[in-house]
């Protein structure tokens, strides 16, 4: 559908849209309707971003946030994936954990922030645990669904060909469940990313992108807010596209589990 000419035109129009939006914002910022501190001009935001990148504060904030989100996400994967698999394979495990999960899952992770602050104090532990809470459920839930949805025909075929326990698990169940497992990881990361920003805002410590945004509000440093928003957006986008896109191409698409045309 998108012939090169049409794609070119779409690209040009996108560029025009973004330029117009930027110019409108710029005009609005310079018009003086809003105080300069509340609506900084784009060059100011760019300068702030450059300064913060160069003097190392922005990389340090980003590193703190990434550390928290990856640690929480890793912990969630270490708990959520095995739990999901066990739930999918063993009835008693499913009967025990499913009611708990269906009650805990609808509680937004950020509702726990004040409780976790009281229990673990401000700082890393509370934020990491909030990320953990946010990320575990989508992983467990999707893994469980994925394991249960493995085509029974494949199981029987593999069994008939003499695959047992271990081989069956690694060669049939895990690859068969992988599209949903990857979906779960993806969903989990999106939620973890929201949770880390929110967690940092409320359970403030000294570093982190969420914290810097919230802190900048106190001093009306809107340029810092906008610069950090850009960094947050870029990191989130990069994870979504590069990490999970690559994971999907490397596993599920290579095994022919989903049609490549979908992406």
């Amino acid at each position: 559908m998108s012939a090169p000419g049409q794609r070119m035109r779409s690209f040009r129009r996108a560029a025009v849209t973004l330029t117009v939006a930027a110019l409108l914002y710029e005009a609005f910022a310079r018009s003086g309707l809003f105080a300069q501190a509340l609506a900084p001009t784009l060059p100011t935001v760019g300068r702030t971003l450059a300064t913060m990148l160069l003097d190392g504060t922005m990389p340090r904030h980003a590193a703190a946030t990434l550390y928290r989100v990856l640690l929480g996400f890793g912990l969630a994967a270490a708990v959520g994936l095995p739990l999901g698999i066990l739930m999918g394979r063993f009835r008693p495990v499913e009967h025990f954990f499913l009611p708990l999960i269906s009650v805990l899952m609808p509680i937004p992770s950020l509702a726990w922030v004040p409780v976790f602050i009281l229990w673990f104090g401000l700082g890393n532990t509370a934020t990491v645990l909030i990320v953990f809470y946010a990320a575990t459920f989508p992983m467990t839930f999707n893994t469980w669904t994925g394991v249960r949805a493995v085509n029974p025909l494949w199981l029987r075929a593999a069994g008939a060909m003499g695959a047992e326990g271990r081989a069956l698990f690694w060669k049939v169940i895990l690859p068969g469940a992988s599209p949903l497992i990857i979906t779960g990881l993806r969903q989990a990361f999106v939620r973890a990313w929201i949770a880390v920003v929110g967690g940092e805002m409320i359970a403030a410590s000294a570093w982190g992108l969420g914290w810097v945004i919230f802190d900048a509000k106190e001093f009306l440093n809107t340029d810092v807010i906008l610069a950090s928003l850009a960094v947050i957006g870029i990191i989130g986008f990069a994870f979504e596209r590069l990490v999970f896109g690559a994971a999907e191409r490397g596993t599920v698409q290579r095994w022919g589990m989903v049609r490549t045309a979908k992406g």
């Binding site: 779409s10 129009r13 996108a14 849209t17 973004l18 939006a21 809003f34 509340l38 009835r91 499913e94 009967h95 025990f96 954990f97 009611p99 708990l100 999960i101 269906s102 009650v103 805990l104 899952m105 609808p106 509680i107 937004p108 992770s109 950020l110 509702a111 726990w112 922030v113 004040p114 409780v115 602050i117 009281l118 229990w119 989508p138 839930f141 669904t145 969903q187 939620r191 990313w193 929201i194 920003v197 929110g198 805002m201 409320i202 992108l209 969420g210 945004i213 919230f214 900048a216 509000k217 009306l220 809107t222 807010i225 906008l226 950090s228 928003l229 947050i232 957006g233 989130g236 979504e240």
Partner: protein, 280 residues
């Protein structure tokens, strides 16, 4: 994304073919099986709370949480908080639904609208909505206005993207068939495109509502609204009222569960059954 029916396995055990007594027994067993994990976790909680490793103010016994729940409910405080939270959720969501569906459909129908809006949407969507909170607070002050606007803003993205996809995936052949049969633009839209895109639009609404719900509590903590469950929890922290916080979280969980069961699953069933297709 939405929860599967959690007690489905139990429902299958009690199939209608069984005699009355057996069915009642099976139902009883399912109830017992479902209650067991809660009893175990509740027992563990109670045990740890009574051990006294943690100060009781921080780790209250379950009776205290229940007492706080009953006291606050009877005083009408908890319902008031809950009503305000739900009102905020619905207000923001309604805003997002109206704007999001309109923009999404426009993007699907007109190439020009698509070229204009898509870059803006793709830049805004990957930023977690909560990150905009300080900006909204600076621009719109504290209280209800920024909270509702932010909730609407956040849930608009999935609604726009899904409505757009839905309109784009309406089968070309349906459109051409309708045109060949003499459908005008208005008719084409109402009779072909809208029904064809509806499953996607509903999916978008569902995702939008669940995203709105997930950040609303945190938004309430940040924007200092006078009433609201998020604010209740956050305020209780100042006075170390862990029992009040846990009672508030229980209400949040109940509302979330109700949204899940009454809204999301109904919507899904409705679309799947009515159109015979499974979305998402």
């Amino acid at each position: 994304m939405s929860g599967d029916v959690p007690f489905q396995a139990g429902a299958a055990t009690a199939s209608p073919g069984m005699p009355q007594a057996v069915r009642a027994g099976a139902r009883w067993r399912v109830a017992a099986r479902t209650a067991l994990p809660f009893l175990v976790v509740g027992g563990l909680w109670e045990f740890v709370a009574r051990l006294g490793i943690f100060p009781p103010r921080l780790f209250p016994r379950l009776e205290e949480v229940a007492a706080a729940f009953i006291r606050l409910s009877a005083a009408g405080i908890l319902p008031h908080h809950a009503v305000e939270t739900v009102a905020r959720l619905l207000g923001g969501f309604a805003l997002a639904a109206v704007v999001g569906v309109a923009v999404g459909i426009a993007m699907g129908r007109s190439r020009r609208a698509e070229d204009v809006f898509l870059p803006l949407v793709s830049i805004g969507a990957p930023i977690p909505g909560l990150a905009y909170a300080p900006l909204f607070m600076l621009w719109f002050g504290l209280g209800n206005l920024p909270a509702i606007l932010l909730v609407g803003f956040v849930s608009a993205f999935p609604i726009i993207l899904n409505s757009w996809t839905g309109v784009k995936t309406v089968k070309e052949i349906w459109v051409r068939a309708a045109q060949a049969m003499g459908a005008e633009d208005r008719q084409l839209f109402r009779r072909v495109i809208l029904p064809g895109a509806l499953p996607y639009i509903l999916t978008g609404l569902r995702i939008g509502l669940s995203q709105a719900w997930r950040i609303l509590v945190a938004v309430e903590m940040l924007t200092a609204v006078p009433w609201g469950l998020g604010w209740l929890i956050f305020g209780a922290r100042e006075f170390l009222n862990t029992d009040v916080m846990l009672a508030g979280i229980a209400v949040i969980g109940a509302i979330g569960l109700a949204l899940e069961k009454l809204v999301f699953q109904r919507l899904e069933e409705f679309t799947v059954v009515r159109w015979g297709m499974l979305t998402s």
